[in-house]
Symmetry: D2
Subunit: 79 residues, 4 copies
């Protein structure tokens, strides 16, 4: 299992190198997180709950990318 | 800063004690996360971005509770 | 079936009487609509699709209130 | 201004011709509406409220498409 603290530090360092903090007010970050949550949900739309428990490797990969995006915005918001 | 791994382990242990995993299919968890993201966003609705950067202690407290809820569902989904 | 145009005209008239248009920029209205969509979805969380097709009168009433809220913000945004 | 009732009747007729009602349980429709609301909001992410009041014709076109999608799912849910 990955070390979440070191991942969070990399996410913040990545942002600071690009000087993005100036754009990252909480209102826009909360919008971004909500949008990403919608993209996550889209992976399960019209699917049964059984299907959602048995995703293909490709589906799982897409879901994990959305979870990573949500974690990134959660990290920005928690700072 | 809290140790996120130990928090995640506690979240999962809390769930397992209550035998909730049977209800926690990814489709419903993604719905829950999306709903919580909406509740987070509600804290910034009609506010300026300036205001969102300068929340009162009470506002910050409510925001942090929503962030914790999102982290919990993200933990369930990442398992 | 209700006359949607006359309902929309009443929604806009209601807003104009209160001079709310100044607060109703599309960014905040889109946030509001997204928040209401989350509240609508909350009525179906953890429920089966079968249950969602067979709501009790009370559940149906709450759902209809959320649909009305979404229609109001959709009306503001469409203007 | 378009006649919303006749638009709604066309939306329902379009669905019935394709026999889609069997897939359109309220739980999934509420998910779809929430996802579309996120796509709408994406058009305003990182933009100022001033910008959101002064969209370019292309931006306005994309926004109107999202509003139409939301209206379609709202119509299905209201039936």
């Amino acid at each position: 299992m990955a070390d979440l603290e070191s991942i969070q530090q990399k996410i913040i360092a990545f942002r600071n190198e690009r000087d993005w903090a100036q754009f990252h007010d909480p209102k826009n970050l909360a919008e971004a997180l909500s949008i990403e949550a919608g993209e996550l949900l889209e992976n399960f739309l019209w699917k049964t709950t059984e299907h959602s428990r048995n995703l293909s490797p490709e589906e799982l990969n897409t879901v994990n990318e959305e979870l990573a995006d949500i974690f990134i915005f959660l990290t920005y918001l928690s700072e």
